[in-house]
Symmetry: D2
């Protein structure tokens, strides 16, 4: 009855299988046969040429994806509740050498932690070309957002148009990209839209410790090859990371797992719909609960994080038990 985080879930059996199969003699770093297949495999998924680099964590994926877009004196526009701002311990400041996160959007989830062109313009237009101000060089959005909201293709297109018009890079933090795509019923390409780089999350979705950075512009990847090594993220036995990523894509495991997690989230929603803080468009459920109510649930064995003083966050995983999720919803209904 663990709804703390999809980070805490198990590794999917097909991932294990692929990792075991990777354990033979092969070339080190990413010169192995599996790593060499990534571009093609993800290219087929996205229906266009891509360059793919593996890393072990989402934080590394996000920061390395942004690194070639943002010089040290530049800025990244992101939502003020974005993971890169709130939960990465200053990693963007490290990887981008002091570049600034330029915080946009509403506080406390008012906009579901989704950016809009207007919210972005409100931050960057007033300081344009002022040498005393950090200038934006990229925009980062999160699909699904930190409140489990999914960007629709038109919303991404509007932000992409703004980015192109201003010469800004566009990055997508896709720690739960699969959940968004599964919810929207869209292809990977449609759920991503016209972006420059995507942190394609796998660890929250059944992998062990491999994330994919998808570059839609190979020139960005050519820079990041050096940045990844420089950050100590070029593993010498990279074949085990490549194996995880390939296992996630082949036979659509990424979608299958995301659908399972989303379904468990919706099972919670069934009972808790009146207390929802946000529409549930992925595998995260934010529910208004008093401290006493949370205590009641914890006494019943449910694990989850508080979300401020009056709410809680429940995250379903690929291996969440549907029955447990439904029971949780019902218990909430009865509170």
């Amino acid at each position: 009855m663990q709804f703390l985080s999809d980070n805490a879930a198990r590794v999917h059996p097909k991932v294990w299988e692929a990792m075991r199969a990777a354990d033979g003699v092969d070339a080190p770093y990413d010169n192995d046969a599996l790593s060499q297949r990534l571009d093609e495999t993800f290219g087929a998924l996205f229906g266009r040429e891509v360059t793919v680099l593996w890393v072990a964590t989402g934080t590394a994926a996000n920061c390395l994806a942004l690194a070639p877009m943002v010089p040290p004196h530049g800025g990244v526009v992101c939502h003020r509740e974005a993971h890169i701002e709130m939960d990465e311990a200053g990693a963007p400041g490290f990887y981008l050498h002091g570049a600034k996160l330029m915080l946009a959007g509403q506080k406390d989830g008012g906009d579901g932690a989704k950016l809009t062109p207007d919210a972005i313009r409100a931050v960057i237009d007033p300081i344009r070309d002022d040498v005393h101000q950090v200038q934006p060089h990229a925009i980062s959005i999160t699909q699904a957002s930190e409140y489990g909201r999914a960007y629709r293709p038109g919303e991404i297109a509007a932000i992409a148009e703004l980015a192109r018009g201003k010469g800004l890079g566009l990055h997508m933090d896709g720690a739960r990209f699969a959940n968004a795509a599964a919810f929207l019923g869209l292809s990977a390409a449609e759920a991503a839209g016209d972006i420059d780089a995507l942190s394609f999350g796998c660890v929250k979705n059944g992998a062990m410790n491999a994330e994919a950075i998808i570059f839609f512009d190979p020139a960005l990847a050519d820079v990041v090859r050096y940045r990844r090594k420089r950050a100590g993220h070029l593993q010498s036995k990279g074949r085990f990371l490549a194996a995880q990523l390939l296992a996630m894509i082949e036979n659509d495991l990424w979608l299958e797992n995301a659908r399972a997690a989303n379904a468990a989230a919706q099972a919670i929603v069934e009972g808790a719909s009146e207390r929802l803080m946000h529409p549930v468009e992925a595998n995260e459920v934010f529910i208004r609960l008093t401290a006493q109510e949370r205590e009641t649930l914890r006494s019943a064995g449910y694990q989850f994080y508080d979300w401020g003083a009056d709410a809680a966050r429940f995250v379903a995983s690929w291996d969440s038990d549907l029955g447990e999720a439904r029971s949780l919803g019902l218990q909430i209904a009865r509170l």
Copy 2:
């Protein structure tokens, strides 16, 4: 017949076993039961209190170990052929925010890439307290060295005394620490000596993607917890890294594997002793070979790296075949 690198070796079955056993529901990051056991397990190995943090690569281990010792305006004295200078793509410059590697010792292996107090003093004494010069804050040595040479306890003690006297931190890159300890027949504590932090290598010795940073001063570790997260190296499913490390230590697998690799290296030496560039005190064998001789060996199926124009490097692994190693040595003898 792969002697390219111990990086290319397989994952030991006991490591696999431990990883599989770690795959249940547990707390994320390093709050899991396995990660929590690291301090005690390594403490027993070293016979003193230690604080242990896992990371995925040796580059990350080295740089994070040095991070709390060296401010951005400081320097690290290391051998001019040290891995941190030669092979980490500038990672120390990244992790230490532009701190300088202060290169000491002889070129081209004259001293086996081992530092001495004199070599260190020759670099740091002339610039002492000169505000126009980067000042040293730490020393980094490699056990076994980049030429497969092992520091004796007295040699380390002399460097440690110098470090203490000048208020410098002392780090040991132990990518092949196990090989050195096995060769010397010393305990882990004896092979490490009086240092502040040790990058305890496992990936070259049978693990998949886990290295241990051993801090002999817990205050250093308390800083590095933040630095590790900031570098994107705090994996959410850290239990799989902890499992690897524990598997390496329990039942002395680290020593067993190192002994096997060292034995294979010595098997090569048997035939090649007259061509050795350096005494073989670990699992690396540097052999003078002309381009034509190397071509002959490669035609016979041996894989290895050239070492400059007139030599080659052979690295044995825990899973090297002793017979292959011996054959290699004999072939060299017959060249």
Copy 3:
């Protein structure tokens, strides 16, 4: 009729005189006789031992003062409208290697851009010891604040107590420190309070290009000597900066100039008191003015900056003409 900025004012004749007198052969960098007198001169001013380093700009002063207090993975609590956040083009991110500015206090001048212990606690208490969150290492306050408000000794003492209790450094941006001290009628020591480092501003107060960083802890200064050189701020003919600083302190020129600027600001206030956005406690006057009213004033020859859509900022200088200032106030009264 220039009220754009005290940056635009002239260099005081006594500063010129001191600079000319410094032009003989002397030791380079800060080994000259004038630089060597700084500690003693400022020590007398503050009534305690201090270590003083000159730099050319307030941005450099602020960032270098903070550098020894804040590691790259740490944070600085400052007001969300502090100069270091709003107007230094990301310099803190550069000098502190990606450390984070942790923004506290109210938006849009609600609190006059002055921090309080409560405002600080609201930012740092929720994330205490969370490895996923940047941890605070210092607090920076501005005397006088960005809205020309002066901290009273009790207010500083309360913040200092909080800082000590949490082991945080305390820095004061004193770009207009003289104006605050003059307004409060306090000694330098009283206007500074129990802080670790002070950026003692001179450029806005009659100097040409010299600011003093006052360290109340000599260990901080010993670090900053290296940081200053590393930042290219150790001028080889530093005697000309030292000369400016000494001229400002000797015969209380710093106070005399600040009083003149403050008096000019108050002269504006006389007419404009009903439109004031903030009490005028230094040399800055923020006045509610429509776009048309601002146009009227500009047509009359007054130079000043807009402050948002409905206000303007007027800054008086040591060389502001009192008559002009009074006329400006009267014109505003008649609008």
Copy 4:
């Protein structure tokens, strides 16, 4: 009888005059009329369009000039005795965010600290496109070199051709550019050659605290405007730096002063020619002298720096007394 450094010389009267004339009300930062004239004035000097930014020190000039050419993961090829490596306290590591100085050329002055295409290729060719190695992004040469040697146009052209061929930026540290141009009898354009950016030194040549960074590609300057502010080097009263630079260029004061310094250096040479370590092609004279001989000269009142154990460096300035210089040479001849 001061031959320690041209840094210790006085400020030229014409520079003083220009600074005094700049002391009126004008726009802050570099929006003043003098700063706005720099591009045109230096453009006329170099016979082509340039963009000029002032800074206070040579260290800042060098590092800011390189900043837009070199990403944090890149490298700068420079001579192993270059000022940026030897005397700037790690400033390149700071400004370039950990980028690496890739040291080329001979030790101990064997090549007069001048780079050649061969010396550069020896450093960069072996590591080309290796992700484990920092890759070069720029070359920096010094005119005149750290041993007072002047690059001839053909030598610069050969390096420039190499740089273009490999896509590397080319920077010239011209702390003593004027001395080289004066010695060679070349125009500024000829003495600079086909480079991307030049640190045009003035502080060692009669200015107080202003250096010019000359960009031959305006896109580089557009980046450095932000970098300069971010480094705290955008002075608010920048007109006083612009005034110094204009004074140096107008009426060829830069050449006149350099000729005077060079003449004084040659006056020393007259007596000391047999002891010269390097041909004297600027204003620095390196002379073999035993410790006792140096003591004799110091007793006679001469000030200079030791250069290792068996030599000394004498630097002449624009205000060196020719008679004193000649006497010094004669004294050396009599030792």
